[in-house]
């Protein structure tokens, strides 16, 4: 019954229809207010404040409720005066003030606030989600840049600026990363594993290892956290899907769009979508014939076959190119400019594949007709991810098996390869937005008007970002300052995409489901991207022999041995045995990991069971609501027929009904479902 006072002044008029007088209505509202205040007084002060803030009333009513609650609390407290509650009240108030201060401070730190608002105002929430994703990645890189610089690079620079320039600066290094940069702190080879003796002693090997471990751990935690959070809000609540989307379209109006043209554009899109959903509904009733279904299956199979063949072909090309390069690398003089430039062949080919093949995939997806546009998007994403990840897989396989045996300072070599990939990928994405979107715009507006202005393809752009971030994660062990490049790259891409968006592109027509796509992107960033990079780095640290002539781990059989040696030395120091105990009984113990896995599995099973139970509950509750609705309609009919029977002449009633046409249908709605 409580809701009726929230529903605003409009409902009161309807009570009037029921024959209630003004006084009765006022009394009713008064009663409800008293009830509400009583409820609120019982709550702890923090929950009470949140409840009041969340009451759907206007400001003055909320203020009124608040003062009533406050005075009720005061009178209650005067009976039980304790210094304890006073203290907790004061503590909570100062804590709250501190929290508000933190929120304000965070507001100041947020970059691009106005730019993001502008983008959201012109292109809507779905395009905005791309830029927010970009910003989120940027934050990751700033963080890794900070910890890498503080814990690895800075001590190394202070201790021994171990830079011996074999060659002068020629300019090509900016692209290739070799030559001038070869022995700098940019790459693994620029560090050495000595213990810096200045008190307190600083062990570079351990610093290198633990910084990387901490970075990957924090990245993993933050990814899992954001993935779970966005999954919870965007998928779990949505689990009960409805047949049509017409109603959802209506409540998806983007209030943040303020640009006049964009508003008009959104209106047109919405109109088209509504018309489409209507015609789809009619079409769906017509069942596909057998031959049509066969044709569809054949199309799906053919498109998958072509895309898999394309991906395999690209991988093979990269593989043979790499084999070729190893041979030529060994045979030729390293200081030759031509040799140096030839190292750019692999990154250029890889970036070219990443640029061209997705376009082919989108052509293929035109042949491959799907009734559901979302399935189409997901399939396209799946194909792109398969391609990009298998190419990265080939590259990693090459770095892990061929390079360590043939190159002297192989970690730096891998770091340089990743550096080249990152740089060339950046250049290609510059050209991609300039030539791709700009030329497409020119063609669409000037030459072939039927094509129209290109849409901003969020999926492809996000996948490019994920690909770039995977590279950055892979490279971080081999080139600790790679986040600098990644930071600059993302920063420039932000502005580039913004300009390209406003000059060349239009808002994507299918704009729905932005929130769910965001979850998919974070999941993709976690699963093939982060997990792949992590396992690669872990494999390097655990099993590969570090190069003997350079780097912090020179002379060890594998980098992880540094930690083992440290645990052994620590054991000798009294009072620190627990570190080596943890090392031998937890980290080096299979049983521990076995138990951990078992516990996680059991927990997952329990939670899955709970989720199943909840689903069942939701289904039952929904049936109950439908039944209650039927009851309501039944009772309403019964009431009407009884009224008619009572006054068979019924002149006054029928007049009443004719003057208030909404009477029969609407008045029951003023009572909420939970009456």
């Amino acid at each position: 019954m409580r809701r009726s006072i929230y529903a605003g002044h409009g409902t009161w008029r309807n009570f009037g229809n029921l024959g209630l007088t003004e006084d009765e209505i006022e009394e009713e509202v008064e009663n409800e207010t008293v009830q509400l205040v009583r409820e609120l007084v019982e709550l702890p002060s923090r929950a009470c404040r949140q409840r009041i803030r969340g009451l759907p009333m206007n400001f003055n009513e909320r203020r009124n409720i608040r003062s009533q609650v406050f005075s009720a609390k005061l009178s209650k407290k005067s009976r039980l005066p304790t210094c304890c509650t006073d203290f907790s009240e004061q503590a909570s108030r100062s804590f709250r003030r501190f929290g508000a201060g933190l929120v304000t401070a965070r507001r100041f730190l947020v970059i691009w606030q106005n730019t993001l608002k502008e983008i959201g105002g012109t292109f809507g929430t779905s395009v905005l989600s791309y830029f927010q994703f970009l910003k989120w990645l940027l934050m990751f890189n700033v963080f890794s840049l900070l910890i890498n610089f503080c814990f690895i690079t800075l001590p190394q620079i202070i201790h021994a600026p171990n830079i011996t320039h074999a060659t002068g600066f020629r300019g090509l290094e900016l692209l290739t990363g070799v030559g001038y940069f070869n022995q700098t702190v940019f790459f693994y080879g620029g560090y050495d594993g000595e213990v810096i003796e200045t008190p307190p002693p600083y062990n570079m090997q351990l610093a290198y290892f633990f910084t990387m471990a901490a970075y990957f751990l924090l990245c993993g935690i933050s990814l899992i956290y954001s993935m779970a959070k966005s999954f919870q809000t965007n998928f779990v609540l949505h689990s009960a899907s409805v047949s049509g989307g017409a109603w959802r379209l209506l409540c998806s109006w983007d209030f943040s769009v303020v640009n006049e043209k964009a508003v008009q554009h959104n209106k047109n899109n919405l109109c088209v979508q509504l018309k489409e959903s209507l015609s789809e509904r009619i079409q769906r009733r017509a069942v596909l014939s057998l031959s049509e279904r066969m044709e569809n299956v054949a199309r799906h199979l053919l498109s998958w076959l072509i895309s898999v063949l394309l991906a395999v072909g690209c991988c093979a090309a990269v593989y043979f190119l790499l084999q070729d390069q190893v041979v030529s690398n060994i045979s030729q003089d390293p200081d030759n400019l031509v040799t140096e430039a030839s190292t750019l062949a692999v990154p250029v080919v890889v970036s070219l594949i990443n640029l061209v093949v997705p376009l082919l995939f989108s052509l293929i997806s035109r042949v491959d007709q799907r009734s559901n546009p979302r399935t189409k998007i997901y399939i396209n994403i799946l194909r792109n991810v398969l391609l990009k990840m298998s190419i990265l897989g080939i590259l990693c396989h090459h770095w892990m098996t061929d390079v360590p045996t043939s190159v002297s300072c192989w970690e730096s070599y891998v770091g340089q390869s990743v550096y080249r990939l990152v740089i060339v990928d950046f250049i290609f994405s510059l050209f991609g937005s300039f030539f791709g979107e700009f030329l497409r715009n020119i063609i669409g507006t000037k030459l072939i008007p039927s094509l129209g202005v290109p849409e901003f393809d969020i999926a492809t752009n996000v996948l490019d970002l994920i690909n770039a971030q995977t590279l950055a994660w892979i490279g971080i062990y081999f080139s600790p300052l790679l986040p600098v490049i990644q930071f600059i790259k993302l920063f420039l891409i932000f502005y580039l995409k913004k300009v390209s968006l406003s000059m060349n592109c239009q808002v994507p027509r299918q704009s729905g489901r932005a929130a769910q796509m965001q979850t998919v992107y974070i999941a993709l960033l976690f699963f093939p991207s982060y997990v792949g990079a992590l396992s690669l780095v872990a494999y390097t640290v655990w099993s590969l022999k570090p190069s003997e002539l350079c780097g912090p781990f020179q002379g060890l059989s594998r980098p992880f041995q540094a930690v083992q040696d440290w645990a052994d030395t620590v054991q000798a120091i009294p009072g620190s045995q627990w570190i080596s105990w943890i090392f031998y009984n937890v980290i080096k113990n299979e049983l521990f990991f076995y138990l951990l896995t078992l516990i996680v599995l059991v927990l997952t099973y329990f939670i899955w069971q709970v989720a199943q139970g909840r689903k069942q509950l939701i289904r039952t509750l929904r049936e109950q609501i439908a039944n209650e609705g039927k009851d309501k309609a039944f009772l309403l009919n019964k009431l009407q027929s009884t009224q008619k029977q009572r006054r068979p002449s019924g002149i006054s009633i029928s007049q009443d009904v004719s003057t208030v046409p909404s009477f029969t249908q609407n008045w029951m709605n003023t009572f909420p479902l939970d009456m």
């Binding site: 529903a7 605003g8 304000t104 409805v242 109603w247 919405l270 439908a626 479902l673």
Partner: protein
């Protein structure tokens, strides 16, 4: 910012902070924009009201198809002219802010879409809603047949208790299945 801060007394500011979802900065910015709208003549009035026509000149609302409904819903004016006092204005911004709860947002969305203020969305409300969304030009307007079909679809999907209208609970139920709603029901100054 210093000048605007001095205009709002400290205890009032903290009360605003406690009763709305806005941060201190947002309240101060809102106050600044509101004073600009109110103009000089009303500045000495203790609680000035800004007429709807002036509120609609805000760039954030100017091209919104629901701008007039928004003003009417948030207005506490006795003559129902859609004029806003500063507190109404804060209410508006608070409901459309990032940190407002889903319940508040869906409540106000419901009232904005409820054109005749009768507490339910019936077919005439839905028709007005669709017209607002698709625009008034002839080529975008839906035909009568399409409109009828659309409204029956909407009711079929969301009218759980089958009484021919959508009430607040049913509306909130639909909203809870549309995860984009929270991010798109947003106006930031």
């Amino acid at each position: 910012m210093g000048t605007t801060a001095s205009q709002l007394p400290k205890e009032l500011l903290s009360e605003y902070q406690e009763l709305t979802f806005l941060t201190k900065q947002e309240i101060l910015l809102a106050h600044k924009r509101f004073s600009e709208l109110a103009g000089k003549e009303d500045r000495h009035h203790p609680n000035p009201r800004v007429p709807m026509s002036k509120i609609l000149m805000l760039p954030e609302l100017k091209s919104n198809p629901f701008r007039e409904r928004i003003c009417q819903v948030f207005s506490t004016s006795d003559v129902k002219d859609g004029s806003l006092s500063f507190e109404d204005f804060l209410d508006l911004l608070s409901a459309f802010s990032d940190s407002a709860t889903l319940e508040i947002k869906s409540h106000y969305a419901f009232r904005i879409f409820d054109f005749d203020d009768d507490g339910t969305l019936d077919s005439s409300d839905l028709e007005k809603l669709v017209n607002c969304l698709t625009g008034d030009t002839d080529d975008t307007r839906l035909t009568a047949e399409e409109m009828r079909q659309l409204i029956s679809n909407i009711l079929e999907e969301s009218d759980i208790d089958k009484d021919g209208t959508v009430n607040l609970s049913e509306f909130q139920h639909v909203i809870s299945r549309s995860p984009d709603f929270v991010s798109s029901f947003k106006i930031v100054l």
